[in-house]
Point group: C2
Chain length 671, copies 2
């Protein structure tokens, strides 16, 4: 009877999201190399599905059917880049076992500004990965089933929604769901290439004929400089084949132990697979003289020619192409939420990106990606050709920054064989840097200029968020003396259980404790411990302040940041132990909304907890306001700790005091 | 300093939504007949933009270019229907000055079940009005600017978002914004028709020639029954021209006084305008032999032929066509929120549809329509031709029910000249009823079957919602004796101001009062009075129960149901009067979420208030749980008032008691 029973809601949620996971489940969700390969490979392998088409879309309108002759010229440097990148990232994986994305590497080696730039381009990149892959998947499906051509935007939006759901369910399940299609695509592409080359060699099929494509341009060939520019433009489009190669190094912590070794196995396998499929497809496309036409993709044309128009293998190839592209989008669903969580932890993005949902997934990041990718798909009408320019540029920014960061690391650390390692990364950095410049210039007027606006704006936004958090955090600081001077114990006859959620010894917490003491004589403080070491410091400070004489502090372990779930677990027990007719009040702090952005940067956890507690029959919720503006006003300019960092909440002051004490103790001991 | 200052947020909101209105502003927002005409006329007048096209889309594929010859055959019965409907609705307006929509009329004359059916079809209808009008507007724009053809879904979604915003700003402003385009469209259509007929008559233009449209079918003409069915199908499509004629009678209360007279002026003017424009367009289309082709609408073709392809008048016609269609969508934005508010008041839809936002608009209904119409536009790819079958059917359901209801009313009331009046409505009812059957059968396989599923489901949903609200309301009832037995006064030293939001003398309010008494000795009860008469009864019951000895009851007048704003106004004053360092707690009830739907049906006002209070630096919010499931369990089967109605909250029991007392007093007086 005393249970909270949100039965139907819980049932629906369980059905859609799967059973909730116990907090300890994260290691079990990690990937073996053979389940990890399809997830990591998908982005890079699937790019083949559009890269060749993108090269031809540049060449054919300019030089006609002869374009296929130049495919190898354009593809050779791309293959070279692939090999160099593979070697470079093998080194990154080894030296950044906790995930060496461009953000981490550049933060480590270049400091804040460059790393924010890397982060900005990565955020844009991951959004584009989803938009491009899903739009391409939608085109692959429409190539097999032409009646869906007019619904490609709707198909794309539906696919994004589906991937979002799968990811809210947790990554291990999705790796199983997607593993087979990736391997299936790889096998089908190998079959396509070998069968195609065999049939062309034996003469059982002939190169394709196009009625509508003009051949006239051959009479006025583009010559000299214009032709070189054309090849560079084609190369820039083709570079989209390389997107996704960095996924492995970003995701080292997603692998089962030994994570580094598993990641390196995957990277080598991945590079080999791309090498074969990309060069094989280029050879086949060159020989079979394929040309991009509307409504049917280049890969679909080759499949139809090689397997036959009504052969099941053709349909299978289209379906598996779509599926692997969906899985490519899925890569971003692993990586972007992780990146946003890192940025949230460092206070460059809203803190709620660090919270985990019921399935231990970074739900806010996943939902953010869903919305952003859907907007891109609608805005660009699910047209791969219009999205590609933005995509290629963004990818090469992070390639370059990541490689350059590694060079700096070798120069600084000077570990064994650092010269060789540095040379590998330096070669990669120069090559990707030059490619970035080429791609950016070639694609500037085709949409790359959007990035020149969007990325700096994102960097600015992150700076503003960081400054705001620093500002608010500073205002919360309070000295031990001030805290104890203002702390109030009241005598009251009420003995309903009053739970206070505390995360430090700050001004807002002081207000909470005073409020709770006022309304009940039976107060317990709860600390949801996402950081064990910090929780220990809080506990000793709690004792040191003498607060434990009136209010016991209970620490609830919460290693994976599913804060709401941890509080629910505690309350389920507390409610069970209530006397009949008894009730509990949960007292939380709420930041007073002074600006529009306060709504996005604060109170999200408070809101989530309040929502979750709506299902409890005996739990009243109390939100006590905290105004950082007033705190700063009251403190006065001289007292306000301007230098406040984003360190551990509220304990900074206490820590300084503690360190001084420890220092004094050490000095005393030495004397 | 004590002010709440959500400055930036308020500023942005004011910018987007306009200045907030004082509660008294509703009468000033009402419409004169000359500003009301464009709003009411738009839906009906704009239908011409697609009705002729829809007729030809049925005829041309079957019988080729000769189709235009049959346009008058199909249009004549539509014009007859128009005249009959105009006379019928003139009577409705006169006898339902508070708005005679199909829901009101059938509730009044047929009771609950029929009226829910009417309500269901109206809800679907209004959603379709927006989807059809905006899709058609998008097509009109693409006819003038072909480069937008591929973006028509995006254009449509953008337009819907824009109308939503304008409506959140309040209806008077939108009437001004839209008035000129409607009159502009009417003038341009008259110009098109007269110029076109004049130029055809003088031979300065000739009928249109189509290279691609086949003429072969003339050799195998469709004969006999198949041809009659074809004409009926064309008629069914053309009936979309009549949609919107009922708008005036729905919206009588939106007019300035004398509202009935103004509404009747508008209806007559409207019918005359449609009569001229529809029959004129049909004549022109027949003579100029227009045929529907892709990417350019029939009206646009006529405009191009009559005015010339690059004549500014042609572009102006397209822009004004788009604008009037946008205004047609706007009709639904006035009517659907009103209908949802009626349904919410009667507990058939969530209660939050009755709340007014900062601009006194029914914001929740507006936002609901935004989402629903956007989904329809995406699902039907902004294709008018695919939406029309659903639209025509729904409209004729409400026509028929509304006319039949009037017949019943005349028979029942038997007022002066009731026989003539009945005959008019009976003729209308039979005609629209037969048309409904024809349209439904003709369009069943083209999408009308969706309505045969959707409307019954909606009716079922409304029944379920109603039953749930009745159930919960029943659980809240508590007798005076029980209330007073459980009521607790505590002694406490706390004197912070504790405001309790009360809406009756119910179980949840009892819990609130007990909680408030426990935590503070300075409690004030607030009642936000959306119903003055009810507030007076609550006040006298409050006194009668003796509650005013401990807790003063303050009644806050709130005639337009902008509950959040009323509470904010009160708090602004209360906060100003606070001692430095003082604080206020606002105590609210929250329904315990037992099922998924509880989230939609309850706590929305509590949530809205909590959100609004996030900007107050000195206001803590307290939510006390109320579990209707437990209340019912505790009461036991015998005590639970099964017959509880949806009357005035919690005062039912008190009222019965009061009535008995009054009865006794009267009896005593007589003796």
């Amino acid at each position: 009877m005393q249970h909270h029973s949100v039965s139907m809601y819980e049932r629906v949620k369980a059905h859609v999201l799967g059973k909730p996971l116990a907090s300890g489940g994260l290691e079990e969700q990690k990937l073996t190399w053979y389940w990890g390969l399809p997830i990591m490979a998908s982005d890079a392998v699937s790019s083949v599905a559009y890269a060749i088409e993108e090269i031809l879309l540049v060449l054919v309108p300019a030089i006609g059917l002869v374009a296929t002759n130049f495919l190898p010229w354009v593809s050779a440097p791309i293959i070279l880049l692939l090999v160099v990148l593979a070697f470079s990232y093998l080194q990154t994986i080894k030296h950044y076992p906790s995930g060496g994305g461009a953000y981490t590497v550049s933060q480590d080696n270049f400091g804040k500004n460059v790393s924010l730039f890397a982060a900005g381009s990565l955020v844009v990149d991951y959004m584009l990965t989803v938009a491009v892959s899903i739009s391409s998947a939608s085109a692959a499906i429409a190539s097999a089933f032409p009646e869906l051509f007019n619904y490609r935007i709707v198909v794309a939006l539906g696919a994004i929604a589906l991937i979002t759901l799968l990811n809210l369910r947790g990554s291990k399940e999705s790796s199983r769901i997607f593993g087979i299609p990736t391997y299936g695509f790889i096998v089908l592409m190998i079959a396509l290439i070998t069968t195609g080359i065999f049939r062309l060699a034996t003469g059982s099929i002939t190169p394709l004929q196009y009625a509508h494509v003009q051949q006239a341009n051959l009479l006025q060939p583009i010559m000299g400089f214009a032709f070189v520019v054309l090849l560079f433009r084609a190369f820039s489009s083709g570079c989209s084949a390389l997107t996704g190669i960095e996924a492995v190094s970003n995701s080292v912590p997603s692998f089962k132990k030994p994570a580094t070794r598993n990641a390196r196995i995957v990277l080598v396998a991945l590079a080999a697979i791309i090498l074969f499929i990309f060069s094989g497809s280029v050879t086949l496309a060159t020989w079979i003289k394929v040309v991009p036409i509307e409504k049917i993709t280049v890969i679909a044309q080759m499949g139809r020619a090689v397997f036959g128009a009504h052969n099941p293998l053709f349909y299978l190839l289209q379906v598996f192409t779509a599926l692997i592209l969906v899985l490519a989008a899925n890569t971003a669903y692993t990586d972007l939420p992780n990146l946003l969580a890192l940025l949230g932890r460092d206070s460059f993005m809203p803190h709620q990106f660090t919270n985990r949902g019921a399935k231990l997934t970074l739900s806010n990041g996943i939902i953010f990606l869903w919305v952003a990718a859907s907007i891109l798909v609608i805005a660009f009408a699910a047209d791969v050709n219009r999205l590609i320019p933005l995509y290629s540029v963004g990818v090469f920014i992070s390639f370059t920054l990541s490689q350059a960061g590694m060079v700096r690391k070798w120069v600084r650390d000077k570990e064994r064989h650092w010269q060789t390692k540095m040379l590998i990364n330096a070669f990669g950095a120069v090559l990707t840097g030059v490619t970035f410049v080429i791609v950016f210039l070639m694609k500037f007027s085709h949409g790359a200029w959007i990035l020149a606006v969007a990325i700096p704006l994102l960097v600015l936004l992150m700076e503003v968020i960081h400054r705001h958090y620093t500002h608010v955090k500073g205002s919360m600081q309070i000295t031990r003396r001030e805290f104890l001077r203002r702390y109030r114990r009241c005598d009251t006859d009420n003995h309903f259980l009053c739970l206070v959620l505390v995360n430090g010894l700050t001004r807002p917490v002081l207000k909470l404790l005073n409020f709770a003491n006022q309304i009940s004589g039976n107060v317990i403080a709860l600390h949801v411990a996402t950081d064990e070491e910090y929780a220990e410091r809080l506990q000793s400070a709690w004792h040191d302040y003498g607060l434990d004489r009136g209010i016991a502090l209970q620490v609830l372990p919460c290693p994976y940041r599913n804060i709401v779930g941890t509080i629910e677990d505690y309350l389920d027990v507390a409610v069970d132990q209530l006397q009949p007719g008894g009730s509990i009040a949960v007292v939380m702090s709420r930041v007073v909304v002074e600006h529009l952005y306060d709504n996005l940067l604060h109170n999200q956890t408070t809101l989530a907890i309040s929502m979750a507690l709506r299902g409890y029959r005996d739990v009243a919720t109390v939100q006590v306001p905290y105004s950082y503006v007033r705190a700063i006003e009251n403190a006065g300019a001289d007292k306000y700790p301007v230098s406040a960092t984003t360190g551990t909440d509220g304990l900074d002051e206490y820590s300084r005091h503690e360190e001084q004490a420890a220092q004094l103790a050490r000095e005393a001991a030495q004397e």
